[in-house]
């Protein structure tokens, strides 16, 4: 086991003729928190989806937990993985989507316990108790029986986080986990994430909140136009950016 959890090498991704990722190289250390920042449309969400093999990449390689994502390598050639295998390899990571994507036909509690029961084959009573703890932790302990449509935006976002955590993944991918949260909740979610980091969880977080990145990140990656422009510890990237583009971006921040 190396101490690199995610490793991207020359990742490229296009939609039709439009190239979105133009060769991304990145390393995420185990137990570290990496924040991806960058302007809208720079490909942050797309890259996160590639890490989870929700998008097939057009070139390059991605390793998660020391194994190739979506492919198996034999004799130097990449063989596409079967859906089932991909699904198994995905269990190592959890993802919180920008648009939440809660299951509308299930209650909040069912949303959380669905995958642990179906995928990990866990005991319903046990996981229900755990899910209740998670819900309490995100401040929604009394809403387990509501349906997602009955929650406000921020409430849905917190459910999405709880749902991903219930799978106890080694790696968490967050796509703007605080965008619909009020400042108070941002603080709470931040606390949750800090706890997770202390427990050794590796996290990749796309965020627009630089204050959040500064507080929580070990490593900040600034993306623009489908490439990594600058990366390093927050103290370097956020407070002392070397690249012009980064400087311009950060100067606009309120």
């Amino acid at each position: 086991m190396s101490n690199v959890m995610v490793e991207a090498q020359g990742v490229r991704k296009s939609y039709g003729h439009l190239e979105i990722l133009k060769g991304i190289d990145l390393q995420v250390q185990r137990g570290s928190v990496t924040c991806l920042i960058g302007p809208s449309g720079s490909g942050k969400t797309t890259f996160l989806r590639c890490i989870n093999h929700l998008e097939k990449i057009n070139a390059g390689r991605i390793y998660v937990d020391d194994s190739l994502v979506g492919y198996t390598e034999r004799n130097g050639r990449l063989h596409e993985m079967k859906d089932k295998q991909t699904a198994i390899s995905r269990r190592a990571s959890g993802m919180v989507f920008q648009r939440f994507n809660l299951f509308p036909h299930m209650t909040i509690m069912e949303n959380i316990i669905e995958a642990p029961i179906q995928v990990q084959g866990r005991n319903r009573r046990e996981i229900t108790a755990e899910a209740q703890v998670l819900l309490d932790r995100v401040g929604l302990g009394d809403r387990g029986r509501s349906y997602p449509q009955e929650l406000s935006g921020g409430q849905q976002q917190r459910v999405a986080i709880a749902r991903a955590l219930a799978m106890k993944p080694k790696l968490m991918l967050f796509d703007e986990p605080t965008s619909a949260l009020d400042p108070e909740l941002v603080g709470e979610v931040l606390d949750v994430m800090k706890d997770l980091a202390e427990e050794g969880m590796t996290m990749v977080v796309v965020t627009h909140e630089l204050g959040f990145a500064r507080q929580v990140a070990d490593h900040v990656v600034f993306m623009d136009g489908g490439v990594v422009v600058e990366s390093g510890p927050p103290s370097e990237v956020l407070d002392n950016p070397q690249n012009e583009r980064t400087q311009a971006f950060l100067s606009k921040v309120l």
């Binding site: 929700l54 089932k84 699904a87 995905r90 993802m95 299951f103 995958a115 349906y147 749902r163 799978m167």
Partner: protein, 308 residues
């Protein structure tokens, strides 16, 4: 910044009632209601006319409503419908998933099946299955090109009229259900696939737990249509000399020339079955509509609130 102390006219006008709410008068729809009342009167008159018009021979209707032949026919109609719809829905779901599959050959086979079975009249399919013996006198399981095979028996013995009817109805229905289910699957948001995949689900579990339950909402109304059509479509199997409800009525009126009363008898039974079915359809729609804030559900809850 604007001065904060200006009093708006709205404020002045309602100064008296501010804080407590004025009685609200719900909207009246005079034109709509007049039309509606008119239609209700017309319907009532029509019903009265039907009830009193002696040309409908209500006495004959009463005589035959529970006639054994009618009851047997109704039972057969029910059995044919239940069995064929069950097979049709399962096979249809499989075909829908095949048609949406990544494998072009599987998808092509599903397309071919749907094309063929939707494209040929059910009558032809029924006659074909019933008389398959003309083409393949013996049914055998075995390897092609002269390989060893197990003879299962004569086709004429294996395929009874009822068997042919069930085969024909189910295979035909599957093609229609496949299209309906495909439409339903297509209506589910892509984000749902993403979310369940990210949770490590795949294949049939993803379909069964996440996609199909959400597709149900959209699939149910046209499926209700199909079941009801099937209830009535079973009379086509009279070509195989099986007497379903409608055909039983036809046999009886061919004997006694009481066409209208016997058609009324059949219609009453169909209406009863349709009513029961619609009731369950509505229950299912409510079940699968939970969590979706669509117009259909909103109406209900608005009414429920009003009722309180």
């Amino acid at each position: 910044m604007q001065p904060q102390n200006a009093l708006s006219p709205a404020q002045q006008a309602t100064a008296a009632t501010a804080g407590e709410s004025a009685p609200v008068i719900p909207l009246k729809h005079p034109v709509r209601n007049t039309i509606a009342v008119f239609l209700v009167i017309v319907a009532a008159l029509a019903a009265m006319d039907v009830a009193l018009n002696e040309r409908y021979h209500w006495d004959v209707v009463a005589d035959y409503l529970f006639a054994p032949r009618i009851l047997t026919g109704a039972l057969l109609t029910l059995v044919l419908t239940v069995v064929s719809m069950s097979i049709g829905i399962s096979l249809g779901a499989a075909l829908a998933i095949m048609r949406l599959s990544d494998n072009p050959i599987l998808s092509l086979i599903a397309r071919g099946y749907i094309w063929f079975f939707r494209g040929t009249p059910l009558l032809v399919q029924l006659i074909f299955w019933y008389n398959i013996a003309a083409l393949y006198p013996v049914i055998a399981l075995g390897l092609p090109f002269g390989g060893p095979s197990i003879v299962l028996g004569s086709a004429n013995v294996l395929i009874t009229p009822l068997g042919a009817a069930l085969l024909g109805l189910s295979l035909n229905e599957a093609a229609y259900m496949a299209e309906i289910i495909r439409g339903g699957i297509g209506s589910v948001d892509r984000g749902q696939y993403d979310a369940s995949k990210a949770l490590g689900m795949s294949g049939s579990k993803l379909m069964r737990r996440i996609i199909l339950p959400q597709a149900m909402r959209v699939v149910l109304p046209p499926t209700g249509n199909q079941v009801i059509s099937m209830l009535k479509g079973t009379s086509l199997v009279s070509v195989l000399a099986i007497s379903d409800l409608l055909y039983s009525a036809q046999i009886i009126y061919s004997e006694n020339y009481q066409t209208i009363p016997l058609l009324i008898v059949a219609s009453l039974w169909y209406l009863l079955m349709t009513t029961i079915l619609s009731f369950f359809q509505e229950k299912l729609e409510r079940h699968y509509g939970r969590g979706f804030d669509s117009v259909i559900k909103r109406k209900r809850s608005r009414k429920a609130r009003r009722a309180k």
